[in-house]
Homo-oligomer: 342 residues x 4
């Protein structure tokens, strides 16, 4: 049985990644694509790499007939998303890829996003989309909020360790390196090739990055008490991939064991042998996460390194994984392609 | 029905690309992988990006039991390949990715490769593997010789134009730009990141590149008389992709029409609207070829630009497409994944 | 004796490159920097890499006192430049880096830039700034027009060959590969890292690139009759550097000899041994040009490859070389730094 | 007065960088270049980017006449260096760029390098070459040991803070990102463009990197007691540049003040305004170091980010700065060139 899929915001990188992945999905079919400023164009003019696909022409959201749509991916900018979703049919299943519904607490939302949430009821309804930690809730949800790509990477490294009680909760440092596609297709000076190639730099340092709101929310949930991490993201001359180097206090072997046990049944997570650390080249274009653990010469210190592809497992792949759960198909459907290397 | 596949030379880039693509193939299953110097290792130690796959351990070729193998991909170095293949069972179907069987003429082989061919009978038996131009012969073949990746790119741009009689055969210039993965996983100074990033340069210029042997052979076949092209390949700071800029004399509209007509029924070739030229970013990791044609301000001159992914359509994707034909499955099986962008 | 220098348009890449180079100049001192939209800022906020220099604050052009300025570099956008220069003091020496004064013929200007020239008298006064070919005129000039960076590269490869009568003037093809800094610090989608890395593509193909106006003008001057070349520029995932592959008909040895003889006395041009071709990595950040010549297997065909750094010899280094001539100092002053590799 | 300079090991990246920088030095002249395996070749065949320079032909070390050499740079591999230097004239001034003389303690050397030091007397004689912290000793030294490039970056960020007593000595984490040229011109798989582009990864993690020996030595010296830091280096798809993100416990304002005060008189170190963090693009090809400090949302936590060019300030520029001191010329001679951007 084929299910009908709409994508709102198909002219950005996460929208395009949804199209790329859905092109190989066994049972989902794209029946509507929106891109307000590019309405009327074929996708081939916006993303020539999708030229070979038989896809609907880009439309304005208001022109989409949602009556036969089974699920809608919403890949629109932050802040505008909440009102767009509020205007969609109340019974439409939605996977949102924006930041609008990631934080459950209205006060936290206001703190991190600088304004009150416009749709507090929807905010309460939304389920946080980190699949491996919210599987039953996602399967039952109408509205799922995709996670931040940096936030996902850090959580994969840390959440099971909090749950297992094997790390010092007050000494967590996340040093994160991110490829540039996570910043989207936006025209900013620091995203130009001439600026970024040979120009590694940190951004939103000092506790200002909005994904800290997700860390705070989810780590507190796992710990049963507030947990505040230090977090410095860096932009690298690389297109895809996030590598998080997480500095922890705890027994390295216990940390490795906790991750290995937690992720053994997971189809997309791979914990490497103790002492082996992963590279971004090994997950590019795929839905896999590789994690490695190493001890330090200082007893009681460990480093966990996690890598994932920000556009796949960090956003659009995760979104499809969640959609699979919501529509009752195999969770891994359309997501088992191998990474692309080199 | 599942068919059993062996890959010889699984520790190089084309071998790994075969594994990547076959991981999504609906009916082929890898049952043997060879890598003589890495025999005994799991593929995850040689290519961590394939870690998630359930694959046989690497073996020596001599240890493989070919009795139940339906088809063998041979991704071994040039020159050694011919003797390896001669020693394989005589009824084994083989797709070779080396240069050893691309040239049919023993004298041409000696000219371009500097030594006589060691297996002239096999050389005569082999079918040239440019699928769209040898489809029936490939379907009936036991041994298919994969094309050079540069050679494939140039032929897609030019061969139909020779057949259609719309270009001057004595005025063909191919200026080709290639990503570095085409050079393989070999330890050479000019392939180091520190040398190649910011270090564009030509190589094998002046009529010395071995793929000229393929151009000579195939263009003469299409023309019914010798055709000698000028060909300058360049190495670019890029991992995947070939872009060939072909300078031609002829009517641009007729050239575009000839390509469009020839490739209309082809599943993997896309001719862009007249005046639109393609980019390597639009075919990365896929089996698609994009071609564009533009006229010049000088009447009677045209430029054709062709792009493909050297590891996919330029070698391993092409090899699987040929294997599909040889084993009687859908020609596009396992090859319809969309490109990866960005 | 120190000479006082002003730079108009210091917030772009060529403006910044002027500052970089002048920082090591033995007798020029920057006394004014303009950047209209960033007036009032220190240069360190616009270009942190210049943070260590003691430089004047950015000003509006109208606020600059030109009375004690010996020479003004004008690195402003095309089209607006002509009126800005018309408003400068009539006796001020000027080296312009825009395209506004490169074409001497008003009709040619209109053809290539789509509008009539606003300052035809200045257009007649300006001297074309390809130093090695206009040395005495530049030394005597008040207004020098810097060349296009692509145009310079092609001319270094071709002009001496026209003068020497060793090539067929009707069979010249320039296939050019350019790093992205030549496109300036402008916010365009195809200049983003995520689009350009792995995304080689041609642009302004088919005889549309404006530097063809310079080729037409200068090659006709050298030949004494019209010469029309074919020219396809490509954008590469690289920051600095241009590599022009020039396809010619003529005797390769004669071509090499003509270039070697012509450039033997030149301080910045190096002709490599016959058969050796240059790489962009070998001239990065410097004012040097490397040229190589190779024959083809087809008799009477040759390839000349020329490389230079678009921001240095292709624009700002060239501008300083011309300024040196205009102000009577050593032509190479401030320009002998070695390239940066890797 | 011109001083005569020899460079041993001119075929590696640090040797080439010495040549590049010395080409602009006002009073040093290169009179001998060694490269044992390339003896007899002109430098242009090993490093075409140095083609324009008038340099001595490469020699074997044994063939160099040191009698008129004022100072010798030794850019040879680790371990072999110590015996080469022992065989040089006893009164020859030497700046060594290898790791052989960085550690003063024989036991520490054995620990980090896995074998006893072959020249313990020389080991005691050598002065550690971090110029800003050993200036008088370097000026008086015969043998100076250049620092590790990673080690230099970390020390610039941390040593003044230890001296000022403003950080917790038991909670120091250095997360370091390094461009690939620091690994030298060696043929290793992970240095290939196809592996590294898009392939960020850590290396020598878990307290194994040899530069920890330098951190231990120098931080203990500053603190008057042992200090053990955590240190994870990462290899990035970038040619030049190191960015160290240092996580500290202490008052951010006091940390910024301590760095600003310490480096105010230094010609090559720049402390950015509080809250501004540096990028590798801003120091490329130069001898400058940029440092930034930011506080965290967690009180009492700070991040210091330091950037330098591994080949310049991290090795060859540092070496020349030290040589200037040793030969009594201006410390900044030949080193004031601006960075190259973009």
């Amino acid at each position: 049985m084929t299910q009908s899929i709409a994508i709102l915001g198909a002219s950005g990188y996460t929208g395009a990644e949804l199209v790329r992945l859905l092109a190989s999905h066994p049972s989902f079919r794209i029946t509507a694509l929106s891109a307000d400023r590019k309405a009327g164009l074929p996708i081939a003019e916006v993303f020539p790499f999708l030229r070979h696909l038989d896809l609907p022409t880009l439309q304005k959201i208001d022109d989409i007939d949602f009556s036969s749509v089974d699920l809608c991916f919403c890949a629109l900018p932050h802040a505008t998303t909440q009102n767009v979703i509020a205007a969609l049919p109340r019974d439409l299943k939605i996977v949102d890829l924006s930041a609008d519904f990631r934080l459950r607490d209205p006060a936290a939302y206001q703190t991190w996003y600088g304004q009150p949430h416009a749709q507090p009821a929807l905010q309460q309804e939304a389920v946080y989309g980190l699949t491996e930690f919210y599987r039953p809730q996602i399967a039952a949800a109408r509205l799922v909020a995709g996670t931040g790509c940096n936030a996902a990477t850090g959580q994969y490294a840390i959440t099971p360790l909090i749950a297992a009680g094997v790390i010092d909760l007050d000494r967590i440092v996340i040093d994160l390196k991110a490829g540039v596609s996570g910043a989207g297709r936006s025209l900013k000076e620091n995203l130009l090739h001439a600026e970024l190639s040979e120009g590694t730099h940190s951004y939103s340092a000092g506790g200002k990055h909005r994904h800290l709101g997700e860390f705070d929310q989810e780590f507190a949930r796992a710990a049963g008490r507030p947990v505040h991490v230090q977090f410095t993201p860096h932009l690298l001359p690389m297109n895809r991939g996030i590598l998080a180097t997480v500095y922890l206090e705890g027994d390295p072997a216990a940390i490795h064991a906790a991750l290995a046990a937690r992720y053994a049944p997971e189809p997309f997570l791979r914990v490497l042998p103790f002492g082996t650390l992963p590279s971004t080249r090994d997950i590019r274009g795929s839905n896999y996460v590789h994690l490695g653990v190493i001890g330090d010469r200082i007893p009681g210190r460990a480093v966990v390194v996690a890598v994932l592809d920000n556009l796949t497992k960090g956003s659009s792949g995760q979104a499809i994984q969640n959609a699979n759960l919501m529509l009752g198909v195999e969770e891994t459907a359309g997501l088992l392609m191998a990474p692309v290397f080199p």
